[in-house]
């Protein structure tokens, strides 16, 4: 039988120049439930589907605050995410102590990128089995980054990772041009709609399985901007948003509804 000899560790190249262990780690991301992130000129939002092990158990958290101005959404091995999350928290705190201000989001993301890369080049280590969406604000406004187990980090306008996330990405691509000028409420609704695309048949968004997080800069009346810290919403706090994107929110046919809502908002 065919056996792949080149996939036992992360220090062996295949004859095609691939590292299978890293590619397999990327598969672990696809096992996690879907998370979506979108950035506009003023806000960055993260929305997620939470999973529970059984009916009576609680739901696994998907969104984590890192610092006042940054948060992450995770897909894949939660325990690996916690390691990265702790690291990011420490770095942000250290940065604030030394420089007296928030860490730029790109700097933070590059740090976990470098950290993850080392795991792909040394024997006895394994790549992280988790993908992240990092949302935050800094002096340059809101940002959204994707982090992969390979250590690859890229800034995105909007993105989705996790199980069946391709459907969500298709939705995001279709509505890409609308995001830049969206306010926070619109952005969340776009996020939830993208999330719904990735839902398995006869499952739907509930207050138990949906998480929403927002970070941004809010325009003040005097023209100045004020940062709006990263905040996660769960349970009853997300019910209004879920209702606003429900299929029967307007008693219109499914096809016309999407368009109608876009115009309204």
């Amino acid at each position: 039988m065919f056996r792949n000899n080149y996939d036992n560790d992360s220090v062996t190249f295949s004859p095609q120049g691939r590292i299978f262990q890293v590619e397999y780690a990327a598969e672990a991301v696809k096992q996690g439930s879907v998370v979506v992130g979108i950035a506009s000129k003023t806000h960055a939002v993260l929305v997620a589907i939470k999973r529970n092990a059984e009916e009576l158990s609680s739901y696994q958290k998907k969104l984590f605050p890192i610092d006042e101005h940054v948060g992450i959404a995770i897909a894949g091995l939660t325990s690996d995410a916690r390691v990265l999350s702790n690291f990011m928290k420490q770095q942000c705190l250290g940065h604030r102590l030394t420089y007296g201000r928030n860490m730029p989001v790109r700097t933070l993301v590059d740090m976990i990128g470098s950290k993850a890369q080392i795991n792909t080049q040394h024997y006895g280590k394994r790549p992280y089995g988790v993908g992240l969406l990092v949302a935050g604000v800094d002096d340059h406004g809101p940002h959204l980054f994707e982090f992969q187990p390979s250590g690859m980090t890229e800034e995105m306008v909007a993105f989705a990772i996790g199980a069946r996330s391709q459907m969500a990405r298709t939705y995001l691509e279709k509505n890409l041009d609308a995001f830049a000028d969206c306010g926070r409420e619109e952005l969340i609704r776009h996020g939830l709609k993208a999330l719904k695309e990735s839902l398995v048949q006869d499952r739907e968004l509930t207050i138990d399985n949906t998480s929403v997080a927002i970070v941004g800069v809010e325009k003040q009346e005097d023209g100045t901007t004020k940062p709006q810290p990263f905040k996660v919403y769960d349970g009853q706090d997300v019910s209004a948003w879920i209702e606003s994107v429900a299929d029967n929110a307007e008693a219109a046919p499914a096809t016309a509804e999407g368009e109608g809502m876009d115009v309204d908002s």
Binding site: F2, N5, Y6, S10, V11, T12, F13, S14, P15, Q16, G17, R18, I19, A39, D110, G113, S114, A116, Q117, I118, T120, Q121, H122, Y123, G124, L144, S150, G151, M152, E154, E155, M156, V157, A158, F159, R169, L172, E173, L176
Partner: protein
């Protein structure tokens, strides 16, 4: 997957009976699949250019940079595994900073290339690591000016070891390319990644050595040619869109004042227009010759 390495390719730093290190060769394969990067050295500076294939519409345009600044006068562009490239650049920055700390003067391009070549080579020596999946192009402009060393006392010896040689020039633009094996050479024009063959063919046509009577390309011309070459090299996989990223380094009296900087947007746009015009012309020419050929057959 027939026995390509017959067991000698399963771990790094293992020689095959005919003296090859397969893992290093496979690392080169990773580079050959990566997007194209080039560097051009001309008389008054260096240009670095990268083709960034757009893998998703959702990527933020222009936000993900591929050419890194290592020191004020040094830039690195790489092809292959991007996270490896990031690590490489981090190390290069450490080397440049370490050099400044030790010797109170900026590292020369040659010395950086040497340090980084050594670093790459070290990753071919042990089974506990894998080679880098990148080829990096290092560009720099070493100052020609008499730069006082930080904290210098006196003026140093005037003769003998460490003394100054009358009429000897130093500094200038330099370009090096480091491969996964750790091997590095100095270049007039360097290309790596998927489109390297086409890019090399184009680079060879340019007058870069400045031999004989010709004065060679100017820096601005080199920027335009760099853009064109990236466009030509991309030709093979036309269906995939790409972004062009370019940086340049001139001498202290040039447009970047000895710094490694991104090519200004106006010049980049101009270069892209030139590149589009030239590549479109090439296609037309080809089609004309084809038509001519058909007629001849008739």
């Amino acid at each position: 997957m027939t026995s390509i390495g017959t067991g000698y390719d399963l771990a790094n730093s293992i020689f095959s009976p005919d003296g090859r290190n397969f893992q290093v060769e496979y690392a080169v394969k990773a580079v050959e699949n990566g997007s194209t990067s080039i560097g051009i050295r001309c008389k008054d500076g260096v240009v670095l250019a990268a083709e960034k294939v757009i893998t998703s519409k959702l990527l933020k345009q222009g936000a993900n940079k591929r050419i890194a600044t290592v020191d004020r006068h040094l830039g690195i562009v790489y092809s292959g595994m991007i996270p490896d490239g990031r690590h490489f650049v981090d190390r290069a920055r450490d080397e440049a900073r370490g050099w400044r700390d030790n010797y109170k003067t900026p590292i020369s391009t040659k010395d950086l290339a040497g340090r980084m070549g050594g670093y790459m080579q070290a990753y071919t020596l042990y089974q506990s690591v894998r080679p880098f999946g990148i080829t990096a192009i290092i560009g720099g402009y070493d100052s020609e000016l008499e730069t006082p060393v930080d904290g210098e006392v006196g003026s140093g010896p005037s003769v003998g070891a460490g003394g100054k040689v009358e009429g000897k020039k130093h500094g200038g633009p330099f370009l090096y390319m480091v491969e996964p094996s750790g091997l590095y050479w100095g270049y007039y024009g360097a290309a790596t990644g998927k489109g390297r063959q086409a890019a090399k063919a184009e680079l060879e046509k340019l007058d870069l050595s400045g031999d004989g009577e010709s004065t060679g390309l100017t820096l601005e011309e080199a920027v335009k040619e760099a853009a064109r070459i990236i466009y030509v090299a991309h030709d093979d996989n036309k269906d995939r869109e790409f972004e062009l990223e370019m940086t340049w380094i001139s001498g202290a009296d040039g447009p970047t004042k000895g710094r490694h900087l991104e090519v200004p947007e106006t010049l980049r746009k101009e270069a892209e227009k030139y590149a589009e015009r030239m590549t479109a012309k090439d296609v037309e020419d080809e089609e004309e010759t084809k038509e001519g050929g058909d007629k001849m057959e008739e």
